[in-house]
């Protein structure tokens, strides 16, 4: 059991240096999480100076910073635009306590997010905007209904479908890559000395083995069209009930939503397949902005994409704040 104190504004303001990022410990169940409160350079407006944006990063290992500190950059950019921002490490990640066996889209870390929202509230800031990336987006969807006076939700590369298992998820990812890389390109790269060295490494060999099998299956399918589903063929992933219901709840509250994807995201392909269903949700046409950036938004594998994601989020959130009538006009 941990006892917790917060490094807060009062202490920080006594220092000679003005700190905009303030680390803070808070409890979530039996664990103690590390969060960061980024204060604005200047409040957005004097009558409502406490608008807060809660950031829920993606899963995997990247902690609340995200790849190349993209979420840190986002929090500071929001601070420069007059917003308070809060991000945190999930339990078992980064500098939070606890252990973690896996991230599952079906099991978002609602308890952690709610504890973060409470902590933000204790610091005098109301979480009026929620931003979540992939797994973090599912977490945002899970807690959105508990947030009063919610003004906007940003979902970054959030898959609308549930993977069946980790193994199947890996299989799908490999098949997708096998589809994108041409056979001639795969052969040319495959015979390079450094690639041959890579293949000798056990942990890479598994991946390349899957890739080659997927590529061969695909090529065989092309020759003997129409492609018959092989024994490894997979049925379409089921649309997540949690995703649809939560999104529907948010729209029913007249809260605008930004769905942000990258053109190379697997989540985007899932979204395209599911868009017909999602558009039947009441309020979707009026309240949802769909934005597709060129590249891989899910993995944030390029600096330029990271910058575009930050700029898009800040611009959209600032617009929601300064032009609340925008969505009303649509309605």
């Amino acid at each position: 059991m941990c006892s917790v104190t917060e490094g807060g504004a009062d202490v920080a303001s006594a220092a000679t240096v003005v700190m905009h990022d303030e680390p803070v410990f808070f409890t979530s169940g039996s664990e103690t999480l590390l969060g960061f409160h980024t204060r604005p350079d200047a409040p957005m407006s004097t009558d409502d100076p406490r608008d807060g944006v809660m950031l829920c990063s993606g899963g995997w290992l990247a902690s609340s910073t995200g790849r190349n500190s993209t979420f840190v950059t986002l929090a500071r950019a929001l601070g420069s635009s007059g917003f308070h921002a809060f991000r945190f490490d999930y339990h078992g990640v980064g500098d939070s306590s606890g252990s973690l066996s896996r991230f599952s889209l079906r099991e978002p870390f609602s308890e952690d997010a709610l504890a973060a929202i409470e902590c933000f509230g204790r610091r005098g800031v109301h979480s009026r905007m929620l931003v979540g990336s992939c797994f973090g987006g599912r977490t945002v969807l899970a807690v959105a209904r508990t947030v009063e006076d919610l003004k906007g939700v940003v979902l970054i590369a959030v898959p609308p479908r549930d993977p069946v298992s980790a193994e199947e998820s890996r299989e799908r990812l490999t098949k997708e890559k096998a589809r994108k890389v041409s056979a001639s390109r795969a052969v040319r790269v495959g015979v390079r000395p450094w690639m041959l060295r890579e293949v000798l490494r056990a942990e890479r060999r598994r991946y390349y083995g899957r890739f080659v099998r997927a590529k061969l299956h695909r090529m065989r399918g092309r020759i003997t069209r129409p492609v018959r589903p092989g024994p490894g063929a997979m049925a379409p992933l089921p649309l997540s009930d949690a995703f649809v219901i939560s999104l529907g709840d948010i729209l029913a509250r007249n809260v605008p939503v930004l769905l942000l994807f990258g053109s190379e995201d697997q989540a985007y392909e899932q979204f395209l397949a599911a868009r017909g269903t999602l558009r039947t949700l009441p309020g979707y046409a009026e309240l949802v902005d769909e934005l597709v950036l060129d590249g891989d938004v899910h993995g944030l594998g390029r600096v330029v994409v990271q910058q575009m994601v930050v700029e898009s989020c800040v611009e959209w959130i600032a617009n929601i704040h300064t032009r609340p009538d925008r969505f009303a006009a649509r309605r």
């Binding site: 917790v4 202490v11 006594a14 680390p23 290992l61 690639m195 942990e203 993995g299 594998g301 990271q306």
Partner: protein, 319 residues
């Protein structure tokens, strides 16, 4: 003031987590977020100059501090691989009465600054600032510095400059040019998986020269860092007053293992006490997910913790 075995001055102190908590408002942890865990106090805050403030995380033992350790992390994508392991290592050392400071280099993690602009000197400066904070907290000069990958390069410079007698090098970068080539190749492999890139390592090097930085799987590597690291020899930096070295080789390749063995012999010839160990794990340092397996990562972390603890307990800080 008393002298340590290396002749450096150390303020006699019975400092521990409770004395630090008691002096919270004005002490070295003033303004830092703190939490008490079993056996230690953990504190998070920033050190350094505005614009380049470095995020630092201290692990302070609840009982009397009998040693202090600075942990220099690897850079960029590699931090993802070692982060929880470094944290576990720090926690376990704090349980044994050793104060530990971890930090994020400028331009990475929670720290400030732009990663495109920094050089090896800047990274060393970050470590020095963190080390000073560690001394303020523990009330004694750092006894040990631990560095992983390029963090080992930083650790070597810091150890020599601050006359820290003991250093642990975890999977150190012994051939920086080869290391950078491997990093670039990692990027090309990653690109190949997602798009039909026709870039080569040479193209990336030319792009680095032309634009001042190059994007490697979403992490910018700047020209200054590239140049300063390319021309730096860890082997040369490891010299007296460094007295004791722990060398940990990771991987299954015999060539790298041989390089570590050669370094170990060279350091012994220089009069240093060198312990070399090998962990048969193959970590995917620069692959953002494809080759990553949690089990290998945890095995590496556990192995490093065991080796460092044994080294510290038996050889260095044994009571």
């Amino acid at each position: 003031v008393q002298l340590t075995s290396e002749g450096r001055s150390a303020r006699a102190t019975s400092r521990d987590a409770s004395t630090l908590e008691a002096s919270d408002a004005t002490g070295p942890l003033a303004g830092w977020a703190q939490r008490r865990t079993e056996g230690s106090l953990e504190a998070a805050g920033f050190v350094g100059a505005p614009g380049n403030r470095v995020f630092a995380f201290a692990h302070v033992p609840s009982r009397r501090i009998r040693g202090s350790v600075l942990v220099c992390p690897p850079l960029l994508a590699e931090t993802l691989v070692t982060y929880r392991g470094d944290r576990q290592l720090a926690g376990s050392l704090a349980q044994r009465g050793i104060a530990v400071m971890r930090f994020h280099h400028r331009g990475s993690g929670n720290s400030e600054g732009s990663p495109q602009l920094y050089s090896l000197d800047d990274l060393v400066e970050d470590a020095l600032v963190a080390c000073q904070k560690l001394s303020d907290i523990s009330g004694r000069p750092a006894d040990v510095v631990i560095g992983t990958r390029l963090g080992a390069t930083v650790a070597a410079v810091v150890a020599r400059r601050l006359r820290i007698p003991r250093i642990a090098l975890i999977a150190p970068v012994l051939d920086p040019k080869k290391y950078l080539r491997e990093v670039f190749r990692g990027h090309l492999i990653s690109e190949m998986k997602t798009r039909t890139t026709r870039l080569s390592v040479g193209d990336l090097e030319r792009s680095l020269d032309e634009h001042g930085w190059v994007d490697i799987v979403g992490y910018p590597i700047g020209r200054e860092l590239f140049r300063s690291v390319s021309n730096f020899s860890v082997t040369e930096a490891l010299a007296r007053p460094i007295r004791s070295v722990l060398l940990v080789h990771m991987g299954k390749g015999p060539r790298e293992h041989a390089a570590v063995d050669a370094l170990s012999r060279e350091l012994t010839d220089k009069g240093m006490q060198c312990s070399a160990a090998s962990l048969p794990v193959s970590l995917a340092w620069w692959f953002g997910g494809g080759g990553f397996t949690r089990a290998e990562n945890e095995a590496a972390a556990t192995g490093v913790i065991d080796l460092v603890q044994t080294w510290l307990d038996g050889d260095v800080l044994g009571d």
